[in-house]
Symmetry: C2
Subunit: 425 residues, 2 copies
């Protein structure tokens, strides 16, 4: 299971430990639902609930899509897309031999991007999974109108069988359309906000279609949630939450999530949403940024080593690689690398990580390590609930509601006004 | 040509203008080579020099590769890969109908990533372009040893014809190997640092192989450099450099580069290296981060709108999209979007951008806009020299050497020690 290593922050602290008393209080409030936004803590039981209620129908829809289509077009924005995108990228190449290609649209307004996807799709058979609680968010609503049109031109009256709507169980424009047209529906739970929803149908249907073993994801997430529910300073979510809040109090205002696997890039984007949107409010919050190592040691590495000292670094490590590659021996050794011949590249990567840790600590950057057993479905499930739990604890520790996002409305209001949206829509 | 709009910072300034006197001084020092690192300002004439000296042989090598191979494996890290990767992503889908697929390796140590690329490559014919001034940087040197082995197994003695080395003109391990083996060579110029080298063979050979019109890139870059050489407050590079330095002085310590085209993602990574590595030293520097809009308005948007007020936002806009898509009319208007029917999606995107600008300024985030005519080869050429010029001016304004990166050595030293590298290698 996931472990946290705080050895790299101790020299930066003014006292022996992070503030576990505050973590205990946040933990209590989170679990008894008495904190701000307590009505949105359904994600604490989401894996178990999904296994019981929707897993079977998600698997069956995924099987149908995989058997008849080459691609699934997923329409969603924010929490309705980042989790699935993160999972598909993180696990795709290893698991999806029998899966469909997944295209993500409706997460922006770029016309060139849209046209590129339509071109790539070509004449392939495809299904659409539209994900929106209300159906009124502009970007996915526009994309859905466009892809509905493409489906109708391609399949005529049978188009409706190629549409899967993940939406509110009762209300909203999208639910109403789905009921009238007879589209298959999945539920966006009422008590789970967008950025906490990846282990509902929101994330799971695209993941299953891509070939990811979602039963494994849910099983490991559920099991790990039971661990995280135990209070105490050995709780990894407490360690991470309390460690970063301690550093924030000392003036480390920006957190770098650094990872060594390129396939983790969108998981870091998901992490940014989770923490940035949960904590960044009321004029406070740790600024979340991400770096891909070792690549970015040759770009942002200079800044991390020698720039202003407001950075803390959280390093995500998979303890075992999924494959191996022995460094070959070369006759003559003209490139001078024979001292590494016969070693597994993964070992060299691990050594590089240890070297980076020591160099950055010496440079004045506190270091937190998150150790995940493997980059697989179980690891993904653990990562999701680990970060969600730690984020909620951390946000409560800093005194904000982890589950609202009042600032997101500002640009929408301004945009709808400028676009001339009728007031009754 | 590129324009800068500073209207979104004026309400945040304590005086009428950014400090153009300091920009003038930085400009002078940059152009006469008298500043710190003045021996690394060869990039100021790089487009013209490349057109004169190497363009023809780059085009000829690219034509050879395209005619016989399905893929080019590019081996490099940091400045030896980010520029080409940025260009291929930004322009690839529109221009590369006749180009090869480009794989980037040697920019990290992930064994799974390496094995994924080897699997994807399969039995396809391929060439290798190894890019390293010295040949001793660990990540690309290891990858090159591995792919050299693959080429030798595939092509036997003819393997050497599939290797193109972009390296120092005289010295270094890689140059020595290239001379002994008879590999085709291109030059990493002595007077241009890695992050300023994309308009040399370093970036241009991969770009040309991907199908990008590099003559157009170089022509527009060269022309725009002449514009940028004219001093004065109407110089767009001055405006950008002086605007962001002014904001930095007022406590805005983090710059968000926001863009509306998903294909710009790696151009933002290139920008992060350019500015982060040039400015982040001696304990100072603006922290560079990037956001993809509108997607990230639904993730980091909350933080930008309501979090701590140390963010400035620089928005990159292409004035014209490369394609269009008219929003369809729908009978019944059940999704309520007919008020947009018939409008081009690109117009909606532009309106969204204007709405975001106004919402963020109201929320306390100063806004700089960079307007690029089009997302094409000419636009890429202009963007490269615009950012490079502005970065050098900005770094000189803040009193640091824009062209060194002393902090990058720290992790390397520590890593080589831990790996047990013999001291003579």
């Amino acid at each position: 299971m996931i472990k946290v290593d705080l050895s790299g922050i101790s020299t930066f602290l003014d006292s022996a430990d992070p503030d576990y008393a505050a973590a205990a209080q946040a933990h209590r409030v989170l679990l008894d639902g008495s904190g701000a936004g307590g009505e949105f803590t359904g994600w604490l039981e989401l894996p178990r609930r999904t296994i019981k209620n929707e897993l079977k129908s998600i698997l069956s829809a995924a099987a149908k899509i995989k058997s008849r289509s080459k691609a699934l077009v997923v329409i969603g924005i924010g929490g309705s897309y980042l989790g699935a995108k993160a999972a598909v990228d993180m696990l795709g190449k290893t698991d999806n031999s029998e899966g469909c290609k997944i295209y993500f649209v409706g997460s922006g307004l770029s016309v060139d991007y849209l046209n590129d996807i339509i071109t790539e799709l070509g004449d392939d058979d495809f299904d659409v999974n539209v994900i929106s609680k209300s159906g009124t968010t502009l970007e996915p609503a526009l994309a859905f109108r466009i892809f509905r049109g493409l489906l109708e031109r391609k399949y005529g009256k049978a188009a409706k069988k190629h549409i899967f709507a993940t939406t509110d169980n009762e209300r909203g424009v999208l639910k109403k359309m789905a009921d009238e047209e007879g589209w298959d529906c999945f539920v966006v739970p009422d008590d789970v906000g967008g950025r906490y929803s990846v282990l509902s149908a929101v994330g799971l249907l695209p993941m299953a279609v891509s070939g990811i073993d979602i039963s494994e994801v849910l099983g490991s997430a559920s099991e790990y949630l039971s661990e995280l529910a135990s209070p105490g300073p050995s709780n990894p979510a407490w360690q991470y939450a309390a460690g970063r809040q301690k550093l924030y109090g000392l003036g480390y205002s920006t957190e770098l999530l650094a990872y060594y696997e390129p396939s983790f890039r969108f998981m870091a984007e998901w992490w940014k949403q989770l923490f940035g949107e949960s904590e960044g409010k009321n004029g406070i919050g740790i600024f979340p940024a991400s770096l891909e190592y070792t690549a970015d040691l040759h770009s942002m590495g200079q800044f991390v080593q020698d720039g202003p000292r407001f950075l803390m670094e959280t390093v995500l490590q998979f303890e075992k690689a999924n494959s191996e590659f022995k460094i070959p021996f070369a006759l003559g050794d003209r490139d001078g690398l024979n001292y590494l011949a016969g070693r597994d590249l993964a070992d060299v990567n691990r050594t590089a990580a240890a070297a980076v840790k020591s160099a950055h600590i010496l440079g004045g950057v506190p270091n937190i390590e998150i150790l995940v057993p493997r980059r697989d479905a179980a690891g993904f499930g653990e990562l999701v609930v680990f970060f969600q739990f730690a984020c909620a604890v951390s946000a409560y520790m800093s005194g904000v509601n982890p589950f609202d996002q009042p600032g997101v409305e500002a640009y929408k209001k301004s945009m709808f006004r400028m676009l001339g949206k009728p007031s009754d829509k």
